[in-house]
Symmetry: C2
Subunit: 350 residues, 2 copies
């Protein structure tokens, strides 16, 4: 826990002076004050994070954390567990949606095996940091030990740190893990008054019978494990997942290194909720990308007080919504650097 405490203490408040200077510059540009809405908010946030009045996000990366879930034994997913490693290979070979969308944004994709159940998973481009062959079935006991949860979280912190050191200026969370809307829903349930029937959705394509099984599995997991809301690491270990822990680490690691981090959909949102429970200041470093079709996602983002930019009815994960948002964030930085001021353009608003 010393590591976690040190991490939390490393997350500093945003740079208020840079934010004020950014606001002044935005107000000098040829547009009604505040009329670019979220684009302006993004510039101000990036200024606060980086300390630069005209921030850059030239080097962008999605880090995809891949892990499996013992709870799939309860029939909570429409797709078989074998899809996790198959999709990891697809990411590494450049054929998945995340490769296409990151490519369009000029962003790299890195994939971390943090706990895929397939022991044969191997690829020269894969970052192999397997904590275990998937989590245990959380309906029978804790998904992970506390030590495993912290180990997985620190893998995320280190992954973020290593990339930031190499010059990455904008990070995003991505994930692959068949069954992972189930632990994500369980984490949300710990922190929300909303009923499971409202939180829980179809994931990649459960029917109503499947959703009933999923609700049942979550109820059982919560009853068996009694996760302690006051101890987010306890929640993460008992009803979370390895890739969820890894993404929680990515968020905290980015925040500790003053780097903006874009979160993707529902599962990334569960990681962000835990990150903000561990270190409330981390919230200021997070950029929400899209609102997914998963019904709990809005409840999750409201709980963190984040506002998504994109409404695409997407429900794929991988980091796809975050990658789409990269271009919007790039747009915000371009507005700041490239627009003419009122004085330069000779525009007199009043």
């Amino acid at each position: 826990m010393v590591k976690i405490e040190r991490l939390v203490n490393a997350i500093e408040p945003l740079n208020g002076a840079a934010m004020e200077a950014a606001t002044r510059r935005l107000n000098s540009l040829t547009k009604p004050i505040g009329s670019l809405g979220v684009l302006e908010d993004l510039v101000i946030q990036l200024a606060g994070i980086t300390g630069e009045v005209m921030p850059h996000v030239n080097s962008k990366m999605v880090i995809v954390m891949a892990g499996d879930h013992g709870v799939v034994a309860e029939g909570v997913s429409a797709a078989p567990q074998s899809v996790t490693p198959q999709m990891v290979y697809n990411f590494l070979n450049g054929g998945a949606a995340i490769n296409v969308l990151a490519g369009l944004a000029g962003a790299q994709v890195k994939v971390v095996d943090i706990g895929v159940a397939d022991p044969t998973l191997r690829h020269e481009k894969l970052i192999s940091r397997k904590v275990s062959l998937g989590t245990a079935n959380m309906t029978k006991g804790a998904a992970m030990s506390r030590e495993q949860a912290i180990e997985a979280l620190m893998i995320g912190v280190e992954a973020a740190g290593a990339e930031i050191e190499q010059g990455v200026q904008l990070l995003a969370t991505g994930e692959m893990g068949i069954g992972n809307t189930t632990p994500s829903s369980a984490i949300l349930a710990v922190y929300s008054d909303a009923a499971l029937s409202v939180i829980v959705g179809p994931g990649v394509g459960l029917n109503s019978e499947g959703i009933d099984k999923k609700i049942q599995a979550i109820q059982t997991s919560l009853a068996v494990n009694q996760p302690d809301p006051a101890d987010p690491i306890d929640v993460l270990a008992k009803v979370g997942g390895l890739e969820i822990a890894g993404m929680t680490g990515l968020i905290l690691g980015a925040a500790a290194r003053r780097t903006p981090i874009v979160i993707d959909g529902f599962i990334s949102g569960a990681s962000a909720l835990l990150a903000c429970k561990i270190a409330p200041r981390a919230k200021e470093y997070i950029i929400a990308s899209h609102l997914s079709e998963e019904p709990g996602h809005k409840i999750l983002l409201d709980a963190i007080d984040l506002e998504p930019m994109l409404r695409m009815r997407m429900r794929l994960g991988e980091g796809t919504g975050a990658a789409l948002a990269f271009n919007v964030i790039e747009a915000a930085t371009r507005i700041m650097r490239e627009m003419a001021t009122f004085e330069e353009a000779g525009v007199i608003m009043d």
Copy 2:
């Protein structure tokens, strides 16, 4: 009216066979069926519009229609009319938000003077098609004659046609015209049961006294002119604007040439509503970009049955929201062309 009738008849239904083939291909790609939501809808729409199963939108353009409004004499705008030509020069010199956002999307910007009140407005890059020096004050009578409205509309049709002939594959509507949320609100009021107090917003920055004046001006305009909802050209002429007519023409012209057209915010939305009243089939060629802060915008888009992708709290106009959406539309076409199929990737979902 013969011209308009010919235009309406030139708008054909989407290509159902291409849409079915596009859906089949989307369903073969390595993702749960439908999980990319709006990205998939966009690909299918583009396939229906272009007849191509793998559509391209390589050549993109925003056409900004600029015009002034006699109704500004009623104190309905927070900015003076002189800002219209000043901003036109800013567009032509590349310093405005639309230049930056279109540039990021790899799109061109063209500006049409369809009715700026400044008689001295001149620039080598400006397309000068001035119908009149702004509209008349619609609280005293019709904003335009029926002939002027048709002339302005046909300028838009021709502008779209000329660019499509030069190879443009994706068009967007943009506008500049101090005071133009007032005629846009009046057009919406003709077709909506919502109260003016719900429809009318601050535009670029009216205070509550200004909003009261604006509501008053719209009420007077509607009472004085009695626009006929069954005759959208009558509505356009009496309580519309030259740039609104021009954008209505852009939409109808793009649809008649089987070219997708992205609409921007509230004023573009008023043009789209009129375009769909003139030719209901035009709707299938329209892509909604963002939901603006102007309170009537959601009512407007609901009236056309369009769903915006972006929630940026923007209220600038110019085509800025549409330009931001260009990248999302490009993303949709890349997904279709670049993602691996289940067979290629060896992924077995069930």
